[in-house]
């Protein structure tokens, strides 16, 4: 059997998940030039929010019916934590040197991890996440798990909604204006504080959707899952051109596919069998990032100011 379609599908699924998280990095960066290092943890609490919904639902409740509720639960928790972080951790530092909110973000990420570890029941070990029953579905020669279909449907829907919001609505245009020049935007009567909160909220909501995808895919959530995923998503955002929402999704997919192909094929190249395995996929992903940044420092989709949102 030719495994290429399978590897591409695996990469696409992983990449769509990275992309959804990367949106949060890129939007916040586009508007307040802050790298919200706690975003990986906002993703993580979204996963626990969704899990909580599942655990409180009565026995016998079908997963298909539960997923929308779990998304709502995850989004509520992520958005609450994300906007609270903005209000209490970042807003007081908005005029401070750039390094200060960055350090706060790292501190916040540790606080969130430890808070879940301490107070969420049984969170000291990985928590089993509900999963769809039934075998995979074959699409174009690749087996797609039922749980993975979720992210393949959710990611384009989210991107469509976001694109519509940014270009067609008043708030979205206000967001673009704030990204270009916050001071002038304020003079034009745009409530920039509201816009910033909105950017955090949208990023957090997308992260929560990604967290549900992560849970359905891997069958578990844990208090440490935000770190690696956050780092990968940040990489995806930089790869795609930080500040650009479509770039974030593209960067995520490129990163996911690169990881998947590197695992599958680099070992087959003569003389490279030492560097091929799953353990090297992060190395190749970062090598790709460095290459892109060398030849295209602004990232894949550049940084056209008008697209920043």
């Amino acid at each position: 059997m030719n495994e290429l379609p399978q590897q591409l599908a695996n990469g696409l699924i992983l990449g769509a998940m990275y992309g959804l998280i990367a949106i949060g990095y890129t939007m916040v960066y586009g508007i307040v030039q802050l790298i919200n290092f706690a975003h990986g943890e906002i993703f993580m609490v979204g996963g626990f929010g969704a899990l909580t919904v599942w655990l409180v639902l009565p026995e016998g409740f079908g997963l298909g019916a539960a997923v929308p509720l779990m998304i709502i639960g995850g989004v509520l928790v992520s958005v609450a934590v994300g906007t609270a972080a903005e209000r209490f951790a970042y807003r007081p530092l908005r005029t401070a040197p750039r390094l200060a909110p960055l350090i706060t973000a790292i501190g916040l990420s540790i606080v969130l991890q430890q808070a879940v570890w301490m107070w969420y029941p049984d969170a000291k070990k990985d928590h089993p996440f509900p999963q769809f029953h039934g075998g995979p579905i074959e699409i174009l020669g690749a087996n797609i798990q039922r749980g993975d279909l979720f992210v393949l449907i959710a990611a384009p829907l989210c991107m469509l909604a976001l694109g519509f919001f940014v270009t067609k609505t008043r708030s979205g245009r206000g967001m673009q204006a704030t990204a270009q020049d916050p001071d002038t935007a304020k003079l034009m009567g745009i409530n920039t504080d509201r816009i910033i909160v909105m950017a955090f909220a949208i990023g957090a909501a997308f992260a929560a959707v990604a967290a549900v995808a992560y849970g359905l895919k891997n069958g578990q959530v844990g208090f440490r899952m935000g770190f690696l995923m956050g780092l990968k998503a940040f990489t995806a955002a930089v790869l795609g051109g930080i500040g650009n929402i479509y770039g974030a999704m593209l960067g995520g997919i490129v990163l996911g596919v690169a990881e998947s192909l590197a695992t599958g094929y680099i070992g087959d190249i003569p003389g490279m069998d030492l560097f091929g395995g799953g353990a090297w996929k992060d190395v190749w992903a970062f090598a790709l990032l460095i290459l892109v940044l060398l030849f295209r420092p602004q990232g894949l989709l550049g940084e056209r100011v008008a697209d920043r949102a």
Partner: protein, 409 residues
């Protein structure tokens, strides 16, 4: 430019945060006597937080139970045992700091732990320099006692202070190979490890014995222990026609690996060592049915010697289960208690002024019937108990399949 530099600073900070380790100091208790009894402290080092905390907390509680039992029985007259648990977070650097803390506390006469062989590698030398006895209930890395030469039959004792109640990966990997080839009759195996001391050693000894029997390793790969997505690796296994997957590593990664393997339509078992023999494994992996693991000794539940242990553990009301290393930890702790007893008896009923040396000298003479069988140590500090058991997941729980000593190919 400002924006570019903020990204650079961010990257640097991210790297920095990775190297941050938890620092914290704990005040020593000061006085070592309470009334007519001398307090002897047994240090316990294990991951009490993080992915492996289920195993670590089982270790802490089982050591605590051994100390409490000794105190209750007044097993060593005039000595009150106390446990000092430190959290190594399964990180070698933290383990090394903990080793220093134990060494600087003069009341510590022996240390139980750690869980991970990679952590142990950082603790052995400081303990050796300080002459402080260490008994690990869980380290199975063969080179920890016998050096890297064990693969070529050139074993040399590495550290005079290191002992263990767990048997080595050499035995464990060989036992798994013996089981898969001779009992399960599977001849083609795909081999994956997580590159840690434990996982890589296990995979190496599995491979050596499996190929000696005539089995075929149809492919090898390495993964990162923090990964949860193995679909790319799983797709590679498919084209090899493997009949089983042997994984050298621990359950947090083995769970999703096994599940994704089966999701991809390959209904072959994943087999691993004691690192996946945890109750968490079938919980995290809905398709664990039929997966295999080896663990040291006979199942605790089958041994008469273990019945008291299980009863006492339940009676003590610990929040966490004793997990895979409970019995071995109890025995490791008890070995130190026995050594203290020998030292005290050899010194007219008092703890010798040079307690650490006396305990270390006594370790070679320690022999008792423990929870997991007869406990004594050979010339390398390894346990003389080589019995292993293969377990299979049946109805979402581990069930013992076969016990014995490994046959070598």
């Amino acid at each position: 430019m400002r924006q570019r530099s903020i990204i650079a600073i961010t990257a640097a900070l991210a790297a920095g945060s990775l190297t941050l380790t938890a620092c914290g100091s704990r005040d020593d208790d000061g006085g070592s006597s309470n009334g007519d009894k001398t307090t002897v402290v047994i240090g316990v080092d294990a991951p009490l937080t993080g992915d492996l905390s289920a195993l670590g907390l089982g270790i802490k509680n089982s050591a605590d139970l051994a100390a409490k039992t000794a105190n209750k029985k007044e097993y060593v007259k005039g000595v009150e045992f106390k446990i000092e648990p430190l959290d190594d977070q399964a990180q070698p650097s933290v383990g090394q700091q903990n080793a220093q803390k134990f060494i600087s506390d003069k009341n510590v006469l022996g240390v139980v732990g750690p869980l991970n062989s990679s952590v142990s590698q950082q603790m052995q030398k400081p303990f050796n320099d300080a002459g402080l006895t260490q008994v690990s209930p869980a380290n199975t890395g063969t080179e920890l006692t016998q050096g890297d030469g064990w693969k070529t039959g050139d074993s040399v004792r590495q550290f005079k202070t290191f002992f263990r109640t767990a048997t080595t990966d050499e035995i464990q990997g060989a036992f798994a190979a013996d089981y898969l080839y001779n009992q399960a009759k599977l001849k083609k195996v795909y081999l994956i490890d997580d590159q840690k001391t434990y996982g890589a050693g296990l995979a190496a000894s599995f491979k050596a014995n499996f190929t000696k029997f005539g089995g075929q390793i149809v492919g090898t790969d390495h993964v990162n222990p923090d990964d949860r997505d193995f679909n790319a690796v799983v797709a590679k296994i498919k084209k090899t026609g493997a009949q089983a997957l042997y994984y050298g590593g621990e359950y947090p990664a083995a769970g999703p690996l096994s599940q994704q393997l089966k999701d991809s339509g390959q209904n072959i078992p994943l087999m691993g060592g004691d690192g996946i023999y945890s109750g968490e494994f079938p919980k995290l992996n809905k398709k664990a049915e039929g997966d295999l693991a080896t663990s040291v000794g006979k199942p605790v539940e089958q041994l008469d010697s273990a019945k008291t242990f299980i009863k006492d553990y339940e009676a003590a009301g610990y929040e966490d289960a004793y997990e895979a290393y409970g019995g071995l930890t109890y025995d490791a702790t008890w070995a130190i208690i026995e050594a203290v007893k020998l030292a005290v008896e050899g010194n007219d009923g008092k703890v010798p002024s040079d307690g650490r040396k006396a305990v270390l000298d006594a370790m070679a003479k320690v022999k008792f019937d423990g929870v997991t069988g007869t406990i004594s140590f050979d010339e390398f500090g390894d346990t003389t108990n080589h019995t292993m058991t293969a377990y299979k997941v049946k109805s979402d729980a581990w069930a013992p399949e076969f016990s014995g000593e490994p046959k070598l190919g």
